[in-house]
């Protein structure tokens, strides 16, 4: 029957589950099945005894809580919790059997302990536990209170008494120190005041006496000393000596003046006369034509010049304490404020916690054990606290006395010493200062004044004598000098006037003789020297071959052999000039009394780096290896034409923009038509449309502008651009140069951006290529301006779509994207695709793609 009922129930349940499975999702179905199986298992649980209900199953809540729950949980809970009592055991059998009879037969629960039994077990536990707790408290409280109380009391007593003893020791020391300090301070103050007063008084007295004596001696001796000096001078031979010296001085001065003026005049006159005299012979010759030997030298020199010019020509400028207050006001622990002695709240160690009663029923056993433990603990704590507190304070007092006694037996000499030192110091300082000041103020003036008077008396006379002598001597010297000079001056002037004419004549002649001797010793003189340009235009240009013309006069009374006469060129600013011929010997004799114009001397050139600077040279004539005469000449290096940038260049990407150079003819000759200006720059940044341009004719001092069109090939807004301009005459001669580097802005109204970096590669491969561009109006403010786009490409590329393309007008700042389809007809080609954008016909930007 039971089996049948179960099978019916199962079949119904399964049917229901199947029906549900048609409509419910699988997880919900699985959950429902699990619940169903759980319910069946529970209903069939009779065979297994009283199985525990699933407390998590809301369908099976415990209907009744366990009766008489323990008020205190057991200290050591039983390992097996009590099972739930059966729920509502049927008191009466059902009158009518249920339609669906219960699956479990009614089970009669075993009989549990009665309330009486439970109360008894509880009472027994309490009764057994209480005496054991009292026992542990009795065992421990006294011992522990004694130990703790004595320790605490000892510590506190020791601390208090120690502090008291230290203070007493310190006070005693302080008093003793004060007595000793006073005594010592007074003694020492007096001694030192005596010492200082004597030393200072002596020192200051001496100074004071010396100063007073000095002042008085000087004042008292000045008059008498001066009077003595004057009278002695008046009685001296000053006037006679002055006259004698005047005569000597006049003679000496006359001679010196004659030498300075008249001898020099004699030399100048002689020199002038010699130069003014017409030479008997006048020679003119060019070194170039005279010496075959020089030709070879010249050839070598030109080779050197060429080698030297290769470098610099293209260079140029690139160069709590907390703690509760549960204690007595004296800091000792209290015992009567509802509080306990420290440590009174101990916990039992359960040394006697051994419940002895054994019950058959587990519940009763648990009740007994629980009540036993609770009673044990309560009894322990209350008894322990009481016993402990009583014993603690007694032990505390004992310990406190012992601690204090121990403290009083300590050595407090250090505290006493500290007090004594402090007392000494204070008293010493005070008494020392009083004693010192009193005595010093009394002694010092006496001593000082005594020493001052002694010193005064001792030094006065010596000082007086000294000052007297000084005054006398000064007065004597003054009067003597006056008398002396009054006699010397007239005697000197008189003598000078008498002697000078004689000396003048003598010295003039001596001067002439000396100059004549100089002419004899240095008969060759440079009378003129100048630079000769190979390109005579009044400008000494860099690299221009320069020579010199020197005029040499022979004052000798004989002809001088030419091979002994050398003319030499020396550069005083050597880094600016290259000298290829620096010395010449005269190829023939220099005639007697002759003036010789020597032409085409030397060969040298100025380096480009000297442009704008002055170069100095020295030309020297030598005869028989001795310097005869020299002359310094200067040159300023300039190009014939000065070049300068006209304004600040501004470039545009893809569009020609002007770079203008101004040319000024600095020479005195006209620059004929045909000069050509060349412009070199960094061609990776800028393309120059016509890099070489012809200049018009330029008269002396006039200027012209040359305009180069340059196209920026960069998207950078500013570039650092090197620019080299050179200007060459029709014969190729460099007549102007400018080497400069400027920061140049690159400005476009419109900017083109290629949006695919691979395009130049794609254009090498046959097929359709779309070139994507972005065009941006960068700065054009014009409105209503249509844009036109023109593409030029090599024949191998076929531009598809309209060409030109027309684009919408763009506002300033606006950008648009567009693409240009190009058919590459064969692979491997190369060339340039150029995209030009016009704003209503005005070219505004050009972009090139090189592939």
């Amino acid at each position: 029957m039971l089996l049948r009922s179960v099978s019916v129930l199962l079949s119904k349940t399964l049917s229901f589950v199947l029906a549900l499975s048609m409509a419910l999702p699988l997880p919900i179905l699985a959950s429902l099945m699990a619940q169903s199986q759980s319910a069946v298992a529970q209903d069939n649980g009779g065979g297994g005894g009283r199985g525990p209900r699933d407390p998590n199953n809301p369908r099976n809540p415990p209907t009744n809580p366990p009766r008489n729950p323990p008020t205190n949980p057991p200290t050591n809970p039983p390992t097996n919790p009590p099972t739930n009592p059966p729920t509502n055991p049927p008191t009466n059998p059902p009158v009518n059997p249920p339609v669906n009879p219960p699956t479990n037969p009614p089970v009669t629960p075993p009989a549990g302990p009665t309330d009486e039994e439970r109360r008894a077990a509880s009472d027994r536990g309490r009764n057994d536990g209480t005496p054991q707790g009292v026992r542990e408290a009795t065992d421990r409280a006294g011992i522990e209170a004694d130990r703790r109380g004595e320790n605490d009391g000892h510590a506190n007593g020791f601390q208090e008494c120690e502090r008291e003893e230290r203070q007493n020791a310190y006070d005693r020391g302080l008093a003793e120190g004060a007595r000793r300090g006073t005594r010592v301070g007074e003694e020492r103050g007096a001694n030192e005041a005596d010492r200082d007063a004597n030393a200072n008084g002596e020192r200051d007295g001496n100074t004071q006496g010396q100063n007073s004596a000095d002042r008085d001696a000087r004042n008292n001796s000045a008059g008498p000393g001066r009077d003595r000096g004057l009278s002695e001078a008046d009685a001296s031979d000053a006037a006679a000596r002055g006259r004698e010296q005047g005569i000597v001085d006049g003679d000496r001065d006359a001679l010196a003046e004659a030498i300075r003026v008249d001898r020099a005049r004699g030399r100048v006159d002689y020199n002038t006369e010699r130069f003014a005299a017409d030479p008997r012979n006048r020679e003119r010759f060019s070194v170039r034509q005279l010496s075959a030997m020089l030709m070879n030298f010249q050839k070598v020199s030109k080779d050197q010049m060429r080698m030297a010019s290769d470098g610099p020509r293209d260079g140029g400028a690139r160069g709590g304490n907390g703690g509760g207050n549960n204690g007595r006001p004296d800091g000792r622990p209290g015992n009567g404020h509802g509080g306990n002695a420290p440590g009174a709240d101990a916990n039992p160690d359960n040394r006697y916690n051994h419940p002895g009663k054994v019950y058959d029923n587990q519940e009763l056993q648990n009740l007994y054990a629980s009540n036993y433990s609770t009673a044990y603990g309560n009894a322990f704590r209350s008894n322990y606290r009481e016993i402990y507190s009583a014993r603690y304070f007694r032990a505390y007092d004992v310990g406190e006395r012992r601690g204090c006694e121990q403290a009083r037996r300590q050595d407090y000499r250090r505290d006493r010493d500290r007090g004594e030192q402090e007392g000494f110091d204070r008293a010493y300082n005070r008494s020392y200062r009083v004693a010192y000041d009193n005595l010093y103020s009394r002694l010092y003036p006496e001593i000082r004044d005594r020493f001052a008077q002694d010193t005064y008396d001792r030094v006065y006379q010596g000082l007086y004598d000294s000052y007297f002598e000084s005054a006398r001597s000064a007065a004597y010297q003054e009067r003597y000098s006056s008398l002396y000079e009054s006699a010397r001056r007239p005697a000197r002037d008189s003598t000078y006037a008498t002697k000078y004419p004689v000396y003048a004549r003598q010295q003039y002649q001596i001067g002439r003789d000396l100059e004549a001797a100089e002419f004899t010793a240095r008969p060759l003189r440079v009378t003129q020297a100048e630079i000769i340009e190979s390109r005579p235009n009044g400008v000494t240009e860099p690299e221009e071959v320069l020579r010199a013309r020197v005029q040499i006069r022979n004052f000798a009374n004989r002809a001088l052999p030419g091979d002994q006469v050398v003319v030499k060129l020396e550069a005083l600013d050597g880094s600016n000039v290259v000298i290829t011929e620096r010395e010449h010997r005269m190829p023939r004799a220099i005639k007697v009394d002759s003036l010789n114009d020597v032409d085409q001397l030397f060969e040298f050139r100025l380096l480009p780096r000297s442009v704008g600077s002055v170069t100095r040279y020295k030309i020297t004539v030598l005869f028989e290896g001795r310097d005869m005469d020299s002359e310094q000449i200067n040159t300023t290096t300039q190009y014939q034409v000065n070049l300068a940038l006209n304004g600040t260049p501004q470039l545009s990407e893809g569009m020609p923009m002007p770079i203008t150079v101004g040319s000024t003819n600095q020479s005195r000759v006209t620059l004929v038509n045909g000069a050509r200006m060349n412009f070199k720059t960094d061609d990776s940044l800028v393309e120059v449309v016509q890099a070489s341009q012809v200049l018009p004719e330029l008269s002396a001092g006039s200027n012209a502008l040359t305009v180069f069109q340059a196209i920026a090939r960069t998207r950078d807004p500013s570039i650092r651009l090197p620019m080299v301009f050179d200007l060459r005459a029709g014969d190729g001669w460099l007549i102007g140069a400018l080497d400069t580097t400027r920061q140049v802005p690159v400005v476009n109204d419109y900017r083109l951006e290629l949006r695919d970096a691979r395009v130049n590669q794609l254009l090498k491969t046959a097929g359709l290529v779309r070139i994507p561009y972005r065009l941006k109006n960068a700065s054009s403010r014009l409105l209503f301006k249509g844009l036109q786009l023109k593409i030029t490409a090599p024949d191998a590329l076929l531009v598809l779509g309209p060409n030109p393309q027309y684009l919408i007008p763009l506002q300033s700042g606006e950008a648009l994207d567009f693409s240009i389809p190009i058919m590459v007809q064969s692979s491997g080609g190369s060339g340039v695709v150029e995209l030009s954008v016009f704003e209503d016909g005005r070219l505004v930007v050009v972009h090139q793609i090189q592939y």
């Binding site: 209503f784 249509g786 779509g801 309209p802 393309q805 027309y806 919408i808 567009f818 016909g841």
Partner: protein
């Protein structure tokens, strides 16, 4: 069913187009009215949704105004196309296009055809009626379309005719 779907889509497109047009607001009222360029003998009449241009020679152009749409340009539909200027929201570019659509060409993914174009730029911030209106006209103009990206260009050759209209009504 398919016809119904197409009908719904076309309605949606219509609403979208109308929304676009209203976004531009049609031809702003400050520019509506009648204008004349005495020098060139041209007359211009603008309403909110339509424009009429006539010359002494008898040329007469009358077209509706609409928001600029790629599809309309692709079909070569004449009209006054309005576009909000991307740089300034208060400006509207007006392209009045009279295509010569039969001359259209296609190559390299581009479609282009010649057109007459009138172009002007008007301000939606203008409240009072304008007395003068400047307009560019070019017969040598192109509409260039790139269907793959739906991008478009309307441009003209250099030196177009420039009308300087003065309001007459």
């Amino acid at each position: 069913m398919k016809a119904m779907k197409m009908f719904k889509i076309s309605n949606l497109l219509l609403v979208a187009c109308l929304a676009l047009l209203s976004a531009c607001g049609g031809i702003p009222s400050a520019y509506q009215g009648e204008f004349r360029d005495d020098a060139l003998g041209a007359n211009l009449k603008l309403s909110g949704s339509e424009g009429t241009f006539s010359e002494a020679t008898g040329v007469l152009v009358k077209t509706p105004a609409m928001a600029l749409a790629f599809e309309a340009l692709q079909k070569g539909k004449p009209g006054i196309y309005l576009r909000k200027n991307p740089m300034r929201e208060d400006l509207i570019d007006i392209y009045w296009i009279q295509p010569r659509f039969t001359e259209k060409q296609e190559a390299g993914g581009l479609l282009w055809y010649p057109t007459d174009v009138y172009y002007t730029l008007v301000s939606t911030a203008q409240e009072d009626k304008v007395n003068e209106l400047r307009m560019i006209y070019s017969r040598n103009a192109l509409v260039t379309l790139e269907p793959s990206t739906k991008s478009w260009q309307v441009g003209w050759a250099a030196n177009p005719t420039e009308f300087k209209f003065r309001r007459t009504k």
